[in-house]
């Protein structure tokens, strides 16, 4: 049954390569992840040869499929409104991307996982390249180069782990059992490479450079996918490896590195945020900030919190990117100055953007606030001020732009897209986030993260 999760998107990808009907494409694009979602729910905990769906994998798989579905629904309205002749070309990589994402979450083989993560880079490169113009090209090139080098370094880490285990196994579960008695120096080296490798794809400072370019040049549904699912794929790999090294008794070393990179990313993102003039890049840097926060949570030895953080971030950031898509449709520009006052000219879209932005800024009743609160609660006292300072600076970066986009002097509206779905999808995501913010599923996440102990 788990194989179905891989075959379905793969087959769809092959079909979508030829198909040109936008309606049919987006319908299938919404259907495939929805069906996958159902399969995943049925197949929770199943094990099937190389594939296995344990709690953490299930968690991310469901999250990814949810976002795929919603983005596909949105994409229908988006492409209809944007009059893009390339639009059908969006879907083949979309399905390929689903395939790689599923693969990464399903496999417990570290080598295969690496392969799927690398393939997800390739599949998503097409999403970035969608517009076929010089900027998109530049972004794709940088994405491909940095991502490939990063992931190659990650491979070194995989190899070293394999070597340290004496070539015995690459299965995560088995490795976790074996790893207790092995050479720590080798594992430390391995983790260094793994961190840089997967960290590049997660978007940690200073390997983040591809992230804003790719996010800003991709069409908005693509940006939403990049931020809402792609980053999680690499993050998921980090979660697995962190748990592996914790089992090897190297927790303190790993945590130190993760905390360091997490905080560095938050601070760097804050400095980038405040100088941003383009709202899609703004959201991209906010992704960098939140991935930093997620890694920080991981470094606190609280994988459940990291899971929650990425979950919340995915929901809010997808809503934000989709709203940004609305704004770019309406104003014809991604300049903050040219989209100001949107809450007056197109209240639904403007408010969705503002609320998503405030959610990303970590204000309650949105759920990221809960995650940040818990992270602070678990932080060592010496790091608390830094954590708060980082959050505050990042917030300062976001606040100005959000205010201007929402409530500044209204700029000229080019078109007012009619499709309701464009507003409903972000609204639904925000509503879901709101519910999670009021009733944060902390216990559930803790149960899920038990696998990682």
């Amino acid at each position: 049954m788990l194989w179905l999760l891989l075959l379905l998107p793969l087959a769809s990808a092959a079909w979508a390569y030829r198909e040109k009907n936008l309606n049919r494409l987006s319908l299938v694009a919404a259907g495939v992840p929805l069906v996958s979602l159902a399969i995943a729910v049925l197949g929770q905990g199943a094990k099937n040869g190389l594939l296995e769906l344990d709690g953490v994998g299930f968690f991310y798989l469901v999250l990814a499929d949810l976002i795929f579905t919603l983005v596909a629904l949105y994409a229908r309205g988006y492409w209809a409104a944007s009059h893009d002749t390339h639009a059908p070309a969006f879907f083949a990589p979309f399905f390929a991307f689903i395939f790689t994402t599923h693969g990464a979450y399903l496999t417990h083989n570290l080598g295969l996982m690496w392969i799927f993560v690398e393939s997800s880079t390739l599949a998503s490169a097409f999403l970035v390249y969608h517009h076929h113009n010089s900027r998109a090209l530049e972004a794709t090139w940088k994405y491909l180069m940095l991502g490939s080098v990063g992931i190659a370094l990650g491979l070194i880490g995989v190899i070293l782990v394999y070597a340290v285990l004496g070539g015995a196994t690459l299965d995560w579960g088995e490795a976790k059992g074996l790893i207790g008695g092995v050479n720590p120096a080798g594992l430390k080296l391995a983790f260094a490479f793994l961190l840089i490798g997967f960290g590049t794809k997660v978007g940690l400072f200073p390997m983040h450079a591809w992230l804003p370019d790719a996010h800003s040049e991709s069409p908005s549904p693509g940006s939403a996918l990049l931020s809402g699912t792609l980053l999680n794929v690499a993050f998921y790999a980090l979660v697995r490896y962190t748990s592996l090294l914790e089992s090897a008794g190297l927790g303190s070393y790993v945590h130190k590195l993760l905390l360091g990179f997490g905080l560095a990313s938050v601070f760097a993102a804050a400095l980038f945020l405040i100088a941003q003039k383009d709202y899609k890049r703004l959201l991209a840097y906010s992704s960098m900030e939140h991935m930093g926060l997620g890694v920080y949570a991981l470094g606190l030895g609280a994988p459940w919190l990291a899971l929650l953080h990425t979950l919340f971030h995915s929901l809010c950031k997808t809503a934000a990117f989709l709203s940004a898509g609305n704004l770019s449709l309406a104003f014809g520009s991604t300049d903050i100055d040219k989209a100001s006052g949107s809450a007056r000219s197109w209240p639904a879209a403007g408010f969705a953007f503002v609320l998503a932005g405030l959610a990303l800024a970590g204000l309650p009743p949105f759920p990221l606030f809960f995650a940040e609160f818990q992270a602070l609660l678990l932080s060592p006292a010496a790091l608390m001020p830094f954590y708060l300072l980082g959050l505050g600076l990042a917030f300062a970066g976001l606040a100005g732009a959000i205010t201007q986009i929402g409530f500044g002097t209204p700029s000229a509206l080019q078109v007012l897209p009619r499709a309701r779905i464009l507003v409903w999808v972000p609204a639904a995501l925000l509503l879901l986030a709101l519910v999670l913010g009021v009733l944060p599923p902390a216990e559930w996440a803790k149960n899920i993260a038990e696998v990682l102990r």
Binding site: A152, I159, L160, Y162, V164, G167, L189, D213
Partner: protein, 201 residues
């Protein structure tokens, strides 16, 4: 040693075609090493895949690309050739120094570990300093080879299907890069990635 020499030559030569050829040679050598090390069957298979994919397909693909795009055969770099070589030498020294730490107990071929590390470092050097898109791809491929060599020397190779997957991934990446390079040439009229600086801040 010969592998390292090809690595150095890749840093030192100006001609792009020569670079691609050296890359092919490096792959052949690597494949040979794989055959030499093979005790079980799967390394042989891996060697064959490597030979076909990286030793033949990729170089031909790249050469065809170069020909089609009529790229000048000059390698352009931030560093002059002698400087590149000097830096390369320094990195190799670092690689050898650090490589000892990487040679884990139970490695299949501990002597090759420093070579692999050096190769990786050289690959990164050429990626970070070479301006042309094609040379960056070549740098990446050299890096990838270093990784492969590391896998070979540390563990006698990864499980077969992984190995193939990795190689396919690398191939796909190069093909994708090839497509992009063609588009870069079309849109920008040059292949100089140092001049692609529109996206900033």
């Amino acid at each position: 040693m010969a592998i390292l020499a090809t690595g150095f030559l890749m840093v030192g030569r100006r001609s792009l075609t020569a670079l691609v050829r050296f890359y092919a040679l490096q792959n052949v050598l690597l494949a040979g090493l794989a055959f030499a090390l093979s005790e079980e069957g799967h390394l042989v298979f891996a060697g064959v895949v490597l030979l076909v994919l990286k030793g033949v397909l990729i170089p031909f693909f790249l050469l065809a690309l170069l020909k089609r795009l009529a790229v000048s055969h000059e390698v352009e770099s931030y560093l002059s050739i002698p400087l590149s070589l000097l830096f390369g030498g320094a990195l190799v020294a670092v690689g050898f120094r650090a490589g000892k730490a990487f040679a884990l107990p139970g490695a299949a071929l501990p002597e090759a570990v420093p070579v692999a590390i050096s190769l990786i470092l050289l690959g990164m050097l050429s990626m970070a300093t070479r301006k042309k898109a094609v040379t960056q791809v070549l740098g990446f491929l050299a890096l990838e080879n270093g990784v492969f060599l590391l896998a070979l020397s540390e563990t006698q190779g990864l499980p077969l299907f992984i190995e193939i997957g990795v190689a396919l991934d690398a191939f796909a990446a190069v093909v994708l890069a090839g497509i992009l390079i063609r588009r870069i040439k079309q849109i920008f009229g040059h292949l100089d990635t140092a001049r692609m600086q529109e996206l900033k801040g």
